[in-house]
């Protein structure tokens, strides 16, 4: 007899599924006729997602548990991360309003929400998986619909190209990852995370599988050298989707990597092995992405490299985050989740500005932003706040998140790594300030014309600005995350 009540443990996933189905029905009922799209447009998915988040968060259970024979492994921190992703998706939806309200998109707006939420569902499964197959299903569920999103403007050449590049490389990396998983199975005889105990620790077979696995995750997080798709895809994809890719997709993958490494690969010497691998990956990601970012002229490509470099900082949290520290604090995981939260606010804010400027003027090059302060001072100011936060300038939240990440890695003993990351922070300051300089100082003959942004974008910007300004100052957020992380590891 199967105990079906076990399914209720997965109420977060089931809730999201219910939202998706509800949206399906609404799409059928209300959105046949593009002219009456107003009922459904944006408000409904945002409200449903908000309710779901509140429903997940409010009775936050404080104990990790397993369901379905260990396939599903849930910790309190999972709920936090899922809710963070929800907020990211919610902001994406708010941003997307203006873009979806275009005539060519109006008819497919329902698809956008549903497909996006399916990728989110995939990430949910990834996060709470206790088994490699469960994990892989989640991964694919998160990747394949993403292709549809990337090529959502399918009649636009760049969008189609970006989609093609993304799906080919995503399949390539998935295949390698699956191969890696099979090698891990061969080495250990199990696919349950908590049962991976090889006879001889860090045998070469296991390491081979692990390197393939890391490469597959590196692709999702867009770490060097698995990042080459990033710039092309980010540039071609609709700006809203780029924002979603750079924050929600990337953030979830980083957290999943931490969770899987923590659950499955902390035995024997294998921890040292992947730490060495990640060490070089982080250095390469942060440094190379910075070097590329300096030279970009397209803002979305620029943000792509910025996102790669930020991914490096995110993964820095993994280095010391898989086990509780000697004093019982879970600095690494806390720092990573906090970084994700702050990065979400800052990056989404920046993308909201980029998107609203693009929707109103069609401009995307950095030099198009010359003189933006003269015509749209408020937007320029918000963009500056977000960029300052991304660069890690106090008192914005980005400073604190970087500080915590560095502190965690430093306490875990990676002093050289922290030093290199610090030097790179200085370089990143340079290119973030280039944008600020363009907006405030550089003069332009044809600046972006003054426009009034729509209410949804304003709401998105308000959420992001609040995050950028308040997360760093409100010290209890970090402490709360820390208390959750302690019971989750």
């Amino acid at each position: 007899m199967t105990n079906y009540t076990e399914f209720l443990y997965m109420h977060e996933e089931l809730g999201l599924l219910a939202v998706i189905l509800l949206l399906f029905v609404c799409d059928l009922l209300f959105c046949k006729d593009s002219k009456r799209g107003g009922v459904y447009n944006t408000a409904l998915p945002v409200i449903l997602l908000g309710i779901l988040t509140a429903f997940n968060l409010l009775p936050l259970s404080n104990l990790p548990f397993e369901a379905l024979g260990g396939m599903y492994h849930h910790t309190p921190m999972d709920t936090i991360v899922k809710s963070t992703l929800n907020i990211g998706t919610l902001v994406t939806f708010l941003m997307a309003h203006k873009w979806l309200a275009r005539p060519e998109n109006l008819v497919k707006q329902g698809e956008f929400y549903i497909v996006t939420l399916f990728t989110l569902l995939g990430m949910y499964f990834m996060i709470s998986s206790g088994h490699f197959l469960m994990f892989f299903i989640g991964l694919e569920l998160a990747s394949i619909p993403m292709v549809a999103l990337v090529s959502f403007d399918k009649y636009r050449y760049e969008s189609a190209e970006a989609g093609a590049k993304y799906i080919l490389l995503a399949l390539f990396s998935s295949a390698l990852l699956l191969y890696g998983v099979s090698l891990i199975y061969a080495a250990t005889g199990s696919l349950y995370f908590n049962q991976i105990w090889p006879d001889a620790s860090s045998s070469w077979l296991l390491l081979c599988g692990l390197s393939l696995f890391l490469a597959g995750m590196g692709f999702k997080i867009s770490l060097v050298p698995f990042h080459l798709w990033t710039a092309d895809t980010y540039e071609g994809a609709p700006t809203v989707v780029t924002g979603y890719l750079s924050v929600v997709s990337k953030g979830s993958a980083a957290f999943v990597l931490l969770v899987v490494l923590a659950k499955a690969f902390t035995f024997g010497g294998v921890k040292l092995d992947w730490q060495v691998a990640l060490f070089w990956v982080i250095i390469a990601s942060i440094t190379l992405a910075n070097l590329f970012a300096i030279r970009q002229s397209n803002l979305k490509r620029f943000m792509a490299y910025s996102a790669i470099s930020q991914a490096g900082y995110l993964v820095l949290g993994i280095m010391g985050g898989t086990e509780p520290a000697a004093d019982g604090s879970a600095q690494g995981m806390t720092a990573l989740v906090f970084y994700l939260l702050v990065y979400l606010a800052a990056n989404m804010g920046a993308f909201a500005v980029i998107n609203v400027v693009e929707q109103n003027s069609g401009k995307l090059a950095i030099k198009d932003y010359n003189g933006l302060y003269g015509t749209n001072p408020k937007l320029a100011f918000l963009m500056t706040l977000c960029l300052f936060s991304l660069a890690g300038i106090p008192p914005f939240a980005g400073f604190f998140s970087k500080f915590f990440i560095f502190m965690a890695a430093f306490n875990a003993g990676f002093k050289v790594l922290v030093f290199i990351a610090l030097v790179n922070t200085i370089i990143s300051l340079y290119y973030y300030l280039l944008i600020v300089k363009a907006m405030y100082i550089s003069k332009s003959d044809t600046p972006v014309a003054t426009f009034k942004s729509d209410g949804y974008t304003r709401a998105a910007l308000a959420i992001c600005t609040a995050g950028v300004l308040l997360l760093g100052i409100a010290g209890w957020v970090y402490n709360y995350l820390d208390s959750i992380a302690k019971v989750s590891l």
Partner: protein, 657 residues
């Protein structure tokens, strides 16, 4: 009696500061001035009300209780049980200071209507005055050293802002910077002193009863009684207190940190009266008086050093004042000298004994008394000087002379204040100076005679400046020109009324207070009846009269052969004194030739070439590498996959090694 309302005394000026600071642009001059004056007027009424009630209630043991109507913990320190509090402390000296500050501030507010009439930035001026008043009031009612330090810095900022009020004029900018840097530099000592003190006594509070116990036991880890002896003979508390005194010396312009005060005269004259004569500059004296129980208990020897520093400063400033020609400079040096008198009075205290007619600690009362009287007559002098400068548009005595004919009210008020500062009865300065002199004689005859001599110098240079302005050689040419423009003569009522009011204080508060000053403020709280020591009183009056006679003989006539001859006989001495004994030049030499040349410049070179060079190199290197790795991002999918695979292989080898 409930003193909760004293919070208003601090809040009203800050409200008017905010209104004037934010909304000043939209206010007319008149409205701005009225808002500022009304709020300070209310503060003055409240202060007098507070003082009236406070001094009406004497405790059972004959002392006035220390009342803390408001106190809350602002920030915990996480070390021991240290914490920063904010609150209001009412005790005799803080209530006395409330009276001084609110009175002088109100007078200056009224006076400024006339003096600043039509100036640009009138609203800004009143906003800063309000902010200053709030800060100064906060300083005196502080419940702990840290709060005091905070407001201490705030008054420093206000002083900076008001000295540089005419910020388009170079000397004003230079003077404001000088004042800020010198006092800030000294405040470093104050801060270090506070931290050392807090660390070793476990408390910042001005309620020292617990301090004594903590300093005794917990800090030395030995039995309390033995520890008390160590602490008394040890060097930690004296060092901490002396460091704090350095901060006070900066604010109160003790030698050699006095150099900013004469330059501070670049600010508007009413500001000089309020900040640089009556209130802020005595903050150092007030600070020593606040910490007096600790000084007298743990660092009596160090306190005597303070006395000698004060005595030297008093002498030095009096000597310089004899040779200055700018009337505001004379008054500035006279201020330095008089504040030094107060320091001396505190420094000559030897012990706090109760019931023995205050043997040894008369100085404390004398110092506070002199602070009170000096605030009134020095403010009068400065405001008179303001009237005169307003009339002749110059600070130099050469532009004046014979002004008594044109400005009778100013003449009489200035004369009375000058008599007071010279120590002539029955004006207030006589009583307070006499107490200082008797305290000095009680400490040591040498100190007594030194101070008597300086008091004589005071009388001399004050009458020199009085005759220089109101008698002496008249600059007829300039006065005729000014008359032709029609703005020459007595200042308007709004300026003369404060003069007269302040003069009333000078005339009466020496002898007409109910009881006497000593019955309100004294070292141990017990009433002390001021009584004149005939020997000292007569000596000092006689000497002062001789000095005045000398000054009259030299300076009253329109031609001054004696002064010329003296100048010619001692050219170097006069030049030296006129140049303030080259102290400023020594500072210039030390800062420019030594500190800048041997420390700052090498550091600047290092910063420019090594630090900047490294970062520039980093930037250009990054640019170069960025350019050269571009082919990696070719857009070709097969290459991406190839790099991907290569990455996997590299990862594998990294891990297996």
């Amino acid at each position: 009696m409930d003193y909760q309302y004293t919070l208003l005394i601090l809040c009203l000026p800050i409200v008017s500061f905010l209104i004037l600071g934010i909304g000043g642009k939209w206010l007319s001059h008149k409205a701005a001035g009225l808002i500022g004056t009304l709020s300070i007027g209310t503060v003055a009424v409240l202060s007098y009300y507070t003082a009236f009630h406070y001094f009406a209630e004497r405790g059972a043991d004959g002392t006035f209780a220390s009342i803390v109507p408001i106190n809350f913990e602002w920030l915990p320190f996480y070390v021991g049980n240290l914490h920063f509090d904010m609150g209001i402390l009412l005790d005799p000296i803080s209530v006395m200071m409330l009276i001084v500050i609110s009175t002088v501030s109100l007078m200056v507010h009224i006076y400024s209507f006339g003096y600043m009439h039509g100036e640009r930035g009138f609203q800004r001026y009143y906003a800063f005055l309000s902010l200053f008043t709030m800060s100064m009031l906060g300083l005196v009612v502080a419940t702990n050293i840290f709060q005091m330090y905070m407001f201490w810095e705030l008054v420093g900022v206000c002083s900076y802002l008001l000295i540089g009020f005419y910020f388009t004029e170079k000397p004003a900018i230079a003077a404001s910077k000088k004042a800020f840097i010198v006092t800030r530099f000294a405040d470093l000592g104050f801060l270090v002193g506070i931290l050392v003190f807090g660390y070793y006594t476990g408390s910042f509070s001005f309620d020292f009863t617990e301090n004594f116990q903590y300093a005794a036991g917990a800090l030395h880890g030995v039995a309390p009684d033995a520890a008390k002896a160590i602490a008394a003979g040890g060097f930690i508390l004296p060092t901490a207190l002396f460091l704090m005194f350095i901060g006070g010396a900066g604010k109160s312009a003790m030698f050699p940190l006095h150099i900013w005060l004469p330059d501070a005269m670049e600010g508007p004259t009413p500001v000089s009266a309020l900040i640089h004569a009556a209130t802020m500059v005595v903050a150092g004296v007030f600070q020593v008086a606040r910490m007096f129980p600790m000084w007298i208990q743990y660092a009596p020897e160090t306190l005597h050093y303070v006395a000698w520093i004060g005595a030297f400063t008093a002498f030095y400033a009096a000597a310089v004042a004899c040779a200055q020609s700018d009337i505001k400079r004379v008054l500035a040096f006279s201020t330095i000298s008089q504040i030094a008198f107060m320091m001396v009075a505190l420094g000559v205290c030897t012990e706090m004994t109760t019931g023995h007619e205050h043997v040894g600690s008369v100085g404390y009362m004398a110092s506070m008394f002199h602070l009170f009287t000096h605030a009134m007559f020095k403010a009068t002098l400065f405001l008179c000087a303001g009237c005169i400068i307003h009339a002749v548009h110059s600070n130099e005595m050469s532009a004046m002379g014979g002004m008594r004919k044109y400005m009778p009210v100013t003449n009489w008020t200035f004369l009375i204040a000058t008599l007071a500062i010279s120590g002539i009865p029955p004006f207030s300065g006589f009583f307070s100076k006499d107490e200082i002199l008797s305290a000095s004689f009680a400490y040591s005859p040498v100190m007594g005679w030194v101070m008597t001599g300086i008091a004589a110098m005071t009388a001399f240079y004050m009458f020199r400046v009085y005759y220089g302005i109101f008698w002496g050689t008249e600059n007829k040419q300039l006065h005729e020109e000014l008359k032709a423009h029609g703005h020459f003569g007595e200042a308007p009522l709004v300026m003369t009324a404060p003069l007269v009011l302040l003069t009333l204080f000078t005339v009466f508060c020496g002898w007409a207070l109910p009881g006497s000053f000593g019955s309100f403020v004294s070292a141990d709280g017990q009433a002390y009846n001021i009584h004149l020591d005939p020997q000292i009183a007569i000596t000092s009056v006689v000497i002062a009269c001789i000095s005045i006679g000398l000054a009259t003989w030299i300076y009253i006539r329109s031609s001054q052969p004696v002064a010329e001859r003296l100048k010619a006989a001692m050219p170097h001495l006069h030049e030296w004194a006129y140049r303030r004994f080259y102290i400023d030049e020594i500072y210039q030499f030390v800062t420019h030739r030594i500190i800048f040349a041997y420390i700052s410049r090498p550091i600047a070179w290092f910063d420019r070439h090594v630090v900047d060079g490294t970062l520039n190199g980093l930037a250009s290197g990054a640019n170069y590498v960025g350019e050269s790795i571009r082919p990696l991002q070719s857009g070709r999918l097969q290459q991406y996959a190839y790099v991907f695979l290569l990455g996997v292989v590299v990862l594998f080898f990294i891990m297996i090694i």
